[in-house]
Amino acid sequence: SGVCTRSCKERGKDIVVLGVEKKSVAKLQEERTVRKICALDEHVCMAFAGLTADARIVINRARVECQSHRLTVEDPVTVEYITRYIATLKQRYTQSNGRRPFGISALIVGFDYDGTPRLYQTDPSGTYHAWKANAIGRSAKTVREFLEKNYTDEAIAGDNEAIKLAIKALLEVVQSGGKNIELAVIRRNQPLKILESKEIETLVAEIEKEKEEEAEKKKQKKST
């Protein structure tokens, strides 16, 4: 218990997309976005579900390791390397004196040096697996099932399509629509970009339109 966000991630051909549900804030609370998506380095970022405080520690260690790796090896980390580092860190806390495991699941995305997009998931036990698309947090199962049905080669053919797929997946379970979605993308050789709410609204509108057009088509088919 303690998971409070849903995030969904997927890997396109030249883009990786991360979407999280924004927690709605109290009336008097400042709407400073509680960032569930964090850059670890210029080419890697991660989203998490779980205890935000634990995530802060893990993210800080990962950021230091990214720079340390660059210093000693003169190369940026591969996504697998930093995932393995985080997973090893988490595992150590499951087998040590007087410590409790980190209460987070993380999705780590990025591009390797050779340009391949990668997506990995870690959990508190310290295991990690590679995925093409995944979701974590509340109702992750629903989102994952949606992705299993809809993650096709043509669905991720272009950057825009991949982003829309992530939004569609989140809309399945997010209550109030575009306002509560936070989206980030990494394109090859470009740093992490967090989409503005305006852009998300535009995309949500496009998705709604497409849904209507699909429904219209089906109606016409039925009637003829």
Binding site: A39, L40, D41, N60, R63, V64, C66, Q67, S68, R70, L71
Partner: protein, 180 residues
């Protein structure tokens, strides 16, 4: 001998460094880059003990990048210079001091251009012009205190109007900014 030169302009800093990596009398490399990019708008120029230079400069470079990752924005040139000096000072009275001389040049949206002089004893000075090495004594002059004349194949020349654009026609002469 290695030398570094930096000159601050109204909205820029101009820096130059020699490209030689020497071992005693032998030039091992003549394409050696002594400038380290700390961030989008900060350069660190580093000369001194072989090995110490790269180790120290890369350590500062990665720490400046780490700050950017942690906080979402880059260190200002003043902050970076002070961070560098603090590191140098901490190591100075240890068993392993770094024997490096540095120039840090940066541009800040709020403070404008900045050139910082640091030496191996961990002194830090923000200056409009600075240099390290033999070049330091030869080329940087506080002009109002001097009468400056140049002698070349064309004869003796007074150097009254010293501006960057004015001297472009004479590539063999050094170019200066009049002090203040």
């Amino acid at each position: 001998m290695e030398y570094l030169i930096g000159i601050q302009g109204p909205d820029f800093v101009l820096v130059a460094a020699d490209n030689v990596a020497a071992s005693s009398i032998i030039q091992m490399k003549h394409d050696y880059d002594k400038m380290f990019k700390l961030s989008e708008k900060i350069l660190l120029l580093c000369v001194g003990e072989a090995g110490d230079t790269v180790q120290f400069a890369e350590y500062i470079q990665k720490n400046v990048q780490l700050y950017k990752m942690r906080n979402g924005y880059e260190l200002s040139p003043t902050a970076a210079a002070n961070f560098t000096r603090k590191n140098l000072a901490d190591y100075l009275r240890s068993r392993t001091p770094y024997h490096v001389n540095l120039l840090l040049a940066g541009y800040d949206e709020a403070e404008g251009p900045g050139l910082f002089y640091m030496d191996y004893l961990s002194s830090l000075a923000k200056a409009p012009f600075a240099a390290h090495g033999y070049g330091a004594k030869r080329f940087i002059l506080n002009l109002p205190s001097f009468t400056v004349r140049l002698i070349d194949k064309d004869g003796i020349h007074d150097m009254e109007k010293l501006t960057l654009s004015g001297e472009m026609a004479r590539p063999m002469k050094a170019t200066f900014y009049p002090a203040a």
